[in-house]
């Protein structure tokens, strides 16, 4: 260490450059702030790729079980609350907008706006978790949980079986043995049970598309306990009563939304950290990398939900 004078000792930790004209956040091993920013951004995109792949496993599970148990998904998804799910979708999209705006504010050095936008993003995230909590609580009370804890309460059970009939009827049902089954409401109902009566069916118009019914006579009645259900011009074979393995849907529902909720919580932590730093005025046009990267992460959390919502809530 005799030449310590000539060459100031440099601790192996990345130290900030002393020169006030240089960017205070430039780590020692980067040449330019641009290089540092690009590295951070590339690293974040790689990390997001790993997140997508983490969720992809669950999407695979979803695809496999939906293909092997379509009736479970058709039946069970109706017990999710589309209204709350829809509100949550809007909440998350809005918070993503706030986050994007926060990045812009950081780039332009608008400190007040940055703090406001980050706070709004946080608010969105917390609202999402609150609504999710209400949904989970309802499912918990009904006993509609994952396989190991799937014990529907008597009410839920009754509701389960009743809802199957009731909603199907509303959607325009024709059972194979009762071609006179009443259909009402909606576009499908304009030609009630046409598909199964097969006597000079008139074309129907669904969402502006003319659909002609098949002239081929209907298939013989399906297996016992099953019935044909017409929905959107297509015939589906549906079980009379709730399928036994409904828990598969709720297992997948809780796994997917649960993992997503954990990511929301992690995102809220990251946003809080960025908010704290922004209140100290650490971000501006010269350095806004954390805002940008946390923003990317938050958008990913949003995008995952945008896939989860239709796949779980909006089956048919």
């Amino acid at each position: 260490m005799s030449d310590a004078e000539a060459q100031p000792p440099q601790p192996p930790t990345p130290h900030m450059h002393e020169d006030p004209h240089e960017n205070a956040y430039l780590a020692h091993h980067f040449d330019t702030p641009q290089q540092q920013f690009e590295s951070g951004k590339l690293g974040m995109w790689m990390f997001l790729a790993t997140e997508v792949l983490l969720f992809s496993g669950l999407f695979c599970v979803y695809a496999v079980y939906r293909a092997s148990h379509p009736e479970v998904f058709e039946w069970a998804h109706r017990f999710l609350n589309v209204t709350l799910g829809g509100i949550n979708t809007m909440v998350l999209i809005t918070s993503s907008l706030a986050m994007a705006w926060a990045v812009r504010a950081a780039q332009l050095g608008q400190q007040r706006l940055l703090a406001i936008c980050l706070s709004l993003t946080l608010l969105g995230g917390f609202s999402f978790l609150g609504i999710k909590y209400i949904e989970y609580k309802n499912k918990w009370e009904e006993g509609l949980l994952w396989a190991g804890k799937y014990k529907p309460t008597a009410e839920a059970l009754e509701h389960l079986n009743a809802t199957g009939h009731g909603e199907a009827a509303e959607l325009g049902v024709a059972t194979t043995d009762a071609s006179s089954a009443a259909g009402h409401g909606g576009a499908v109902a304009s030609a009630p049970a046409a598909a199964v009566t097969a006597s000079a069916p008139a074309p129907v118009v669904i969402d502006g598309v003319k659909v002609e019914h098949s002239q081929i006579a209907p298939a013989p009645p399906g297996p016992q306990g099953m019935r044909l259900v017409e929905r959107a011009g297509l015939l589906h074979l549906m079980p009379e009563r709730a399928p036994r393995e409904l828990w598969i849907f709720f297992s997948i529902y809780f796994l997917m939304t649960g993992l997503h909720a954990l990511h929301v919580i992690a995102g809220l932590g990251a946003i809080s950290w960025v908010l704290a730093r922004s209140l100290k005025g650490q971000f501006g046009p010269a350095y806004y990398t954390p805002v940008d990267l946390v923003g990317l992460y938050w958008h990913l959390v949003d995008v995952v939900w945008i896939f989860l919502f239709p796949l779980l809530y909006l089956i048919h």
């Binding site: 790689m46 792949l53 496993g57 828990w247 809780f254």
Partner: protein, 558 residues
């Protein structure tokens, strides 16, 4: 041969640099909180070698039990636990993080001419994730171990009452370590190459590490979710993998091998990178087919994602799927063979010095060729049905993983040892140990090919009498192997205290890490390396051996 011996003998003229990355700061804290990629690499090296030791002791216990057809030293349940821990420790704690974490961390920034990896904090976090994962594994051992085999197949893993959860959680956490290293390496290679270093001026080690990192980043998350689902299955009974609730256990196998087959290439690609460095340097000849080796690394990384089904030919798949997976398995052999041919062509008409790293590299070529070719036997459907779950499989993957990955890691450790520690080891002992390991390895695993092809099943603690001779031979071989590694440990540790100071460039390498003193200064280079217009990491012209320092010096800039 003569040249390298001289390199060791003539090391008297070198002074150990007083200010280097090892001595720059002192004390335990300066290591535990270091952000220097070299120190993190050294910590990784020590840790993975400790795991290797633990896994090795378990291996010797397994071999000792198999010395006789009946119970020798342990019962069936203990045996199940021992072989599971051997597999899990060797795979997840040693081979997967081994080369990238230790040697990769140490040399990658230096080969690029950079001061550090792109994210030093992430790098340290990666190391501690490994440590936490390892602690979970140790906790599991204390809790009585786990007996599922390292693959954790359901439904057994969801029903056994051994400590599955701590092990699986540990591996999940180690997954983060793997992902962090991968992200770090990819970004560093993209963004921190020295000015003038294009993609095709990078040493091939970096192409190997780049391909490895791609697999680490793209495959590990799938293992992560698989293990989470397994934990969820045990804790909550979600019915995804458990047939008791209508789940599909074969789905677990698909998920598991979607990661674990590419993971085989996480283990072998950096090994191939090391071999691509060692062979040209000790042949004193330009690498043959640079671009072919570089592209084949990427090709292996891509195809590795498409072959997982060949682990499941007897698990119940359609014939069509089996045939496609079989064809793809043959396809992945092509880029591997491209590399082997290029390495051999590099040696052709070279001036080969049989220094220790080169001895290991030659061992690698021999063993990896056997391991790779027996992989093709297993990739063909009809043969696989006969050989599934026999010792043929055990022999095959040990030839690839041990004969490939570990031999290359040994080559790399010996090759960069002077750079890492600043000391030369005893060359003669190095060569003897390499020979011991090579003979011991073949004695251990070659008989297993024969026993396996005759139908000896794997994972049992006893076996029919007629397999006794093969097993006795194999066990004696394993003791020889253990002896070889003890010898390596002895002379390497001895060199730390008594080894001659190493010159900057003891072997005549042309990659950038050899242009800086051994051990390197804290920021790797005394002056930032400036590369000429025609920089070539395999151009050995102008490197001349200087007997006074026992190493090579650049005679004139080319």
């Amino acid at each position: 041969m003569a040249e390298s011996s001289a390199a060791v003998r003539g090391g008297a003229g070198v002074e150990y640099p007083t200010d280097n990355y090892l001595t720059h700061t002192q004390g335990l804290r300066s290591w535990l909180f270091t952000l220097d990629h070299k120190r993190i690499g050294v910590m990784y090296l020590v840790s993975v070698l400790a795991s290797f030791f633990l896994g090795g002791v378990l291996a010797l216990l397994i071999r000792t039990e198999l010395l006789t057809p009946r119970q020798t030293i342990m019962g069936a349940d203990t045996y199940n636990i021992i072989f599971t821990l051997h597999g899990a420790i060797m795979i997840f704690l040693f081979i997967i993080p081994g080369t990238p974490g230790s040697l990769g961390n140490f040399v990658l920034p230096m080969m690029l001419g950079a001061k550090d990896v792109a994210f030093p904090r992430l790098n340290l976090a990666s190391y501690y994730m490994w440590v936490i994962g390892a602690i979970f594994a140790l906790v599991a051992i204390v809790m009585g171990g786990v007996d599922t085999g390292w693959t954790f197949y359901t439904p057994y893993s969801t029903t056994t009452n051994t400590a599955v959860i701590p092990v699986v959680l540990g591996i999940f956490i180690i997954g983060f370590s793997s992902i962090f290293t991968g992200i770090n390496f990819i970004v560093t290679i993209h963004k921190l190459r020295a000015p003038g270093m294009g993609w095709f001026q990078m040493p091939l080690m970096l192409w190997g590490l780049y391909a490895t990192s791609i697999i680490q980043v793209l495959a590990t998350p799938v293992l992560g979710i698989t293990l989470l689902l397994l934990i969820a299955e045990r804790v909550l009974q979600v019915g995804i993998f458990s047939p008791a609730y209508g789940g599909d256990p074969v789905l677990f196998q698909h998920f598991f091998w979607f990661y674990s087959h590419p993971a085989v290439y996480i283990m072998i690609l950096p090994a191939m990178g090391i071999i691509s460095e060692v062979i040209p340097v000790f042949s004193h000849k330009h690498i043959f087919g640079y671009k072919a080796i570089a592209y084949s690394s990427i090709a292996i990384a891509v195809i590795s994602f498409l072959v997982w089904g060949h682990h499941m030919f007897v698990s119940g798949m359609s014939n069509m799927a089996s045939a496609i997976f079989s064809a793809l398995t043959f396809a992945v052999a092509i880029p591997s063979a491209v590399k082997v041919f290029n390495w051999v062509a590099t040696m052709y008409k070279g001036s080969i010095s049989l220094a220790t790293p080169m001895c290991y590299a030659l061992g690698f070529l021999f063993l990896f060729a056997i391991g790779g070719l027996t992989g093709l036997f297993l990739g063909s459907l009809a043969v696989d049905v006969h050989l599934t779950d026999t010792y043929f499989i055990v022999a095959h993957f040990h030839y690839v993983m041990f004969g490939g990955a570990v031999m290359a890691l040994m080559a790399g450790i010996h090759y960069w040892w002077p750079k890492i520690t600043g000391r030369m080891y005893n060359e003669r002992l190095g060569q003897i140990a390499c020979l011991l390991i090579f003979i011991g390895f073949n004695a251990t695993f070659f008989p297993q090919f024969v026993a396996g092809s005759q139908g000896m099943p794997r994972r049992y603690f006893n076996y029919p009498e007629r397999f006794t001779d093969y097993n006795v031979f194999s066990t004696i071989g394993s003791y020889l192997l253990g002896l070889g590694f003890l010898l390596v440990a002895a002379y390497l540790i001895h060199s730390l205290f008594r080894g001659r100071p190493a010159p900057a460039n003891p072997w005549g390498g042309a990659t950038l890490e050899w242009s800086t003193p051994s051990p390197p200064p804290p920021e790797n280079f005394e002056e930032e390396p400036v590369l000429g217009d025609h920089y070539d990491p395999y151009d050995y012209r102008g490197l001349v051996y200087d007997p006074r320092i026992g190493g090579y010096v650049q005679q004139h800039p080319h």
